[in-house]
Symmetry: C3
């Protein structure tokens, strides 16, 4: 089943129009090269994490909250932090982007609210265990949304890895090198791979040069995307998110920043690079 985004969030649309006006105005008046928000709040974000998750997930999540907090300096956006997924669409609709840090909806109400939010054009970024699902998950919509099958295997322990940027044409990857080394994390393979889904655009993958990949649990082969978007939704999944090295690397930090901006400010960051 191939969903299309049917209902756009009105706040996002008006925000986009407002931004376009600002850009147009700046270019008409004096070609000032910057769009300053001033007192405008560009968007609203919700971060969800689980303080009772395994400690390596909590380590990543707490560092992630600090990382995104620093991106909020000056209140270009406001944000809330929760430890449970909201169980109503109304709660979710207040946010332009929902960032799930090793956490995802548990019960039927939370799942339903999240499905409705995304079907109506909501924005989502999921890290690491947020994408974990297996035969006991019993949530077919989530696989359709994520764009791939269930968890297949992982490397253990967490370690750095050479990754390949599948396309440098996307706003998320335009500023990344073609290949780079990401800091230590555990990585998941899914089956079927998201690359087999024609609605998915794979952005970053574990290089096959890493095989055999792992010390205790060793991944020997297989297609290994770790960052992708399902083009039927406003979403990005990032498989990083395990341990205390998630934010030591400038290049990975840029990847995270780009993903956050692309989802939160689609009208700005999806545009072609403006010309003077």
């Amino acid at each position: 089943m191939n969903h299309q985004i049917k209902n756009y969030n009105y706040r996002l649309l008006s925000l986009a129009l407002m931004l376009l006006c600002c850009v147009a105005q700046a270019q008409v008046t004096d070609k000032y090269p910057a769009d300053y928000a001033g007192d405008r709040i560009r968007f609203h974000a919700l971060f969800i994490w689980d303080p009772n998750a395994e400690s390596a997930h909590v380590e990543f999540d707490q560092q992630a909250l600090h990382f995104f907090h620093k991106l909020s300096y000056g209140e270009g956006f406001t944000y809330d932090v929760r430890t449970e997924c909201p169980n109503s669409l109304d709660s979710l609709k207040r946010y332009d982007v929902v960032v799930m840090l090793n956490a995802l909806p548990h019960d039927a109400d939370q799942r339903k609210a999240f499905e409705q939010y995304m079907e109506q054009g909501g924005g989502w970024i999921g890290f690491h265990a947020t994408g974990y699902n297996d035969k006991d998950t019993h949530w077919p919509w989530f696989n359709e949304f994520l764009g791939c099958g269930t968890f297949l295997c992982n490397n253990w322990p967490p370690q750095p890895a050479l990754v390949e940027v599948d396309t440098q044409l996307h706003p998320i990857t335009r500023t990344l090198p073609k290949e780079f080394v990401v800091p230590a994390s555990e990585f998941y393979q899914f089956s079927p791979s998201p690359r087999d889904n024609k609605d998915v655009e794979v952005l970053v993958s574990i290089s096959p040069k890493n095989y055999p990949f792992g010390i205790k649990d060793i991944v020997l082969f297989g297609d290994f995307p770790i960052v992708w978007t399902n083009k039927n939704y406003r979403m990005v999944y990032l498989n990083m998110g395990h341990g205390d090295e998630g934010f030591i690397d400038a290049t990975q930090n840029l990847l995270f920043t780009n993903a956050f901006r692309w989802i939160s400010l689609p009208s700005v960051s999806s545009s072609e690079t403006p010309k003077e």
Copy 2:
């Protein structure tokens, strides 16, 4: 007006001659590949910072002081730290290099002393807000020295960025990759750009691939040099310097090290790579 450096610091000249002698001697005797300082102190440095600056500048400055302190291990150079710029040339002339960390001369005496120091061949490295100036600065010499116009715009919040190395032929950039990602900082555009100044050599620039660049305040276009030297002085300006990620990246640390050595030991680091 095109200044040329007229008066060389005698200490530097004698230091240079001494080093050349050591190198020559080593090559004559047994081709020993290293020049050891032993008890010699190669140069004297002054670091200036402002403990009352905004907290993100103080964070960078304190980390910078630790970074340069580690470079002083073994006393290859001595250094002092001040929180105000000296107000006399005599105070400045004791140093081969003055490093301004988000700080610059405030009053007329400090400005005059600094002008004289630089005109007489002094060495300078300026980070980030040290280069900030606008219509209220009223210090034309500083713009002539810096080699560009006033502050034009900035990204906000601080974030990592893809940068391009404009030339790999310079001693400061010879060991840097052609492109790399610098860790999170705020970056300034100036107008006119230093690239428009024929006396300036631009070393590193923000890549246009970053556009639109920012989340709250978004730079949309424009020439964006961030590291350069005005060839009329012994100086390097580095636009990095905001927040707590300034020293997390080995490549940026090498850029800072190279810049510090090029200014502090011009006879050594400006030379062609010696051949065995």
Copy 3:
């Protein structure tokens, strides 16, 4: 004198066979892409450091112990930590890999035990000062084992450096970029260089672009390998290991991880990349 490894450690051989069986089985049954250890312990490691070494070595060593501890999560391997080298072969034979962190055998018994261990196929990784030796060392076997002559010179202070990967065909370097910047360390040149030894495979070298290299003590020229293996032994020497920046860089962390796996799991990591 050209030693060849004569006696393989039986444990390693049986481990290798067991792993090969697992792989073969997985491919036959359902092409499951991963080899999980389950309750199996893949190997046993010994880490040796010297708490009385100079403080910059202790800083590196303690961070290294934390780094390798994280690689042991899930007990894919067990490990012991000692502050003295064992003085009997029996003590060493319990380990598949011995990692010497700025520490090496001191007295005759320790040296003899280590020689026997390596000659019988033991695994070794040495960091930084572990390789230091000069005219007062009086241990000819060690130079034959290390594959190079005595210490010749070093840069001072520790600083980042551009390095060249000499071959990307080796399991240790297959996932590294051709050139990258390593974080700050002190580096040693040896004379004769290990590259002059036909039994040595040099993996990573300081790029000549760094010359003149240093601020107090400046290396001017010379062949400068920093990671290599003597193919007559199961060993890797890594010259990094001085100061508190040894583990800030994802790419260097991957180099260390690859080296540790190649020595500890030779049958796995030396193999060609498996095909699905």
